[in-house]
């Protein structure tokens, strides 16, 4: 057999294959027409299995992400907003977090932060707003909040201002407070 014969044989096989594919396509279109679809290709069992596997894997991933992204609170299920993928590995400095939690762990300090949420205030203004806290106690609470970075004091005017982390911490405390109120926690 010459090389030319080989090529001819190969062309013949390819033509047969094309003819077979055309026939399959025609039959498929006929079946689709019967079912009301415009186009259909029989993708074969192997392909179907791999697609099904892929879809199952996607479904599983979605399920896992949803488990991470929903928050079951006392009032039902809440979806946590944000980019799901970014929450996979969370590295936090727990010592710093504990420091902030410690600064928040007093009713008086939470009240001080609440007052500062509406704008910077002098000590005497805070005292007027919070008469239940004595002057010395107020100073010591402000010192703790300042050391943690939740508030900052202007050196010239002396006003106390809530910082960006301070606002975030206060909002977190409010969320926690609502959760505690709505749950059975004591």
């Amino acid at each position: 057999m010459t090389e030319e014969d080989d090529i001819r044989e190969e062309i013949k096989n390819l033509r047969n294959e094309i003819a077979s594919l055309k026939e399959q396509l025609r039959e498929a279109q006929e079946r689709r027409k019967e079912k009301g679809y415009k186009f259909y290709i029989d993708i074969g069992d192997n392909v179907r299995e791999s697609v099904e596997e892929a879809l199952e894997s996607v479904a599983e991933s979605i399920h896992e992400e949803l488990e991470k992204s929903i928050f079951i609170g006392p009032r039902g299920v809440k979806i946590i907003k944000g980019k799901i993928g970014e929450r996979e590995e969370v590295h936090v400095d727990f010592s710093k977090t504990a420091g902030v939690m410690n600064a928040l762990s007093h009713e008086h300090r939470l009240k001080i932060l609440k007052e500062l949420m509406s704008g910077g205030k002098y000590v005497n203004e805070l005292q007027e707003k919070l008469p239940e806290i004595t002057t010395s106690t107020l100073s010591s609470h402000l010192k703790i909040l300042e050391e943690t970075g939740l508030v900052v004091q202007e050196k010239v005017r002396g006003r106390y201002l809530i910082t960006m982390p301070g606002r975030a911490a206060y909002k977190m405390a409010i969320k926690l407070a609502k959760f505690v109120e709505e749950s059975d926690l004591k």
Binding site: V152, E154, K155, V156, L161, M164, G166, R167, A168
Partner: protein
């Protein structure tokens, strides 16, 4: 624009009483008593001073934004000579003649060393030429130039009424009443009456 020559006054002076050189609701600059003072003159007119002594600079580099306050106050003890340009008339009544003991107390052997040190600082501030370009009005605001911690730069504070510009190698703080820009190596904050943009570097 007129070109002038500056020179340093040879008369030894010191601050009689502790004084506040500059004060606004955002910052204070104070000098202690016995601080040595070398006057800077342009055409025999006193335009500024080189101070040698102890001082303190307080600047509230805090930006109030709708998301919370950003920045912190700085409080710097000033131990190195620094330049003040502008509003010199206010400090003149508080200056008295200094003697060699006053120089020795501040670590200077003699008058020549004090003038030389002042000249070095002026050259860093004005440039190598003794010529100063300007319209000659120095009364409306202040310019302060401080040596940075490692002496490599001059930290500048420019102030006029409520307008402040403070610039170091790492920090730029510009404040005009409620309009503030704070640039640090970590973030840039722009605030206009509480509305703000924060850009993390």
């Amino acid at each position: 624009m007129i070109c002038h020559n500056y020179h340093l006054d040879n008369t030894l002076r010191k601050v009689k009483e502790a004084a506040t050189l500059w004060k606004t609701e955002k910052g204070i600059l104070e000098i202690s008593e016995d601080t040595l003072a070398v006057l800077i003159k342009v055409n025999d007119r006193k335009i500024g001073c080189v101070f040698h002594g102890d001082g303190k600079l307080i600047l509230d580099m805090i930006v109030e934004t709708d998301k919370g306050a950003i920045g912190k106050p700085i409080e710097k003890e000033i131990k190195k000579p620094f330049i003040m340009i502008g509003n010199i008339e206010r400090i003149l009544p508080n200056l008295v003649t200094a003697n060699r003991q006053d120089l020795a107390d501040k670590g200077y052997m003699d008058e020549r060393e004090l003038i030389e040190r002042s000249g070095d600082l002026c050259r860093r501030f004005f440039g190598e030429s003794t010529r100063v370009y300007g319209c000659g009005k120095f009364e409306q605001g202040f310019v302060f130039a401080f040596l940075s911690d490692n002496d490599s730069d001059l930290d500048m504070l420019i102030a006029k009424n409520l307008k402040i510009v403070y610039k170091t190698r790492e920090i730029t703080f510009i404040s005009n009443e409620n309009k503030i820009v704070l640039k640090t190596p970590w973030k840039t904050v722009l605030s206009n009456n509480g509305r703000s943009i924060v850009l993390n570097e």
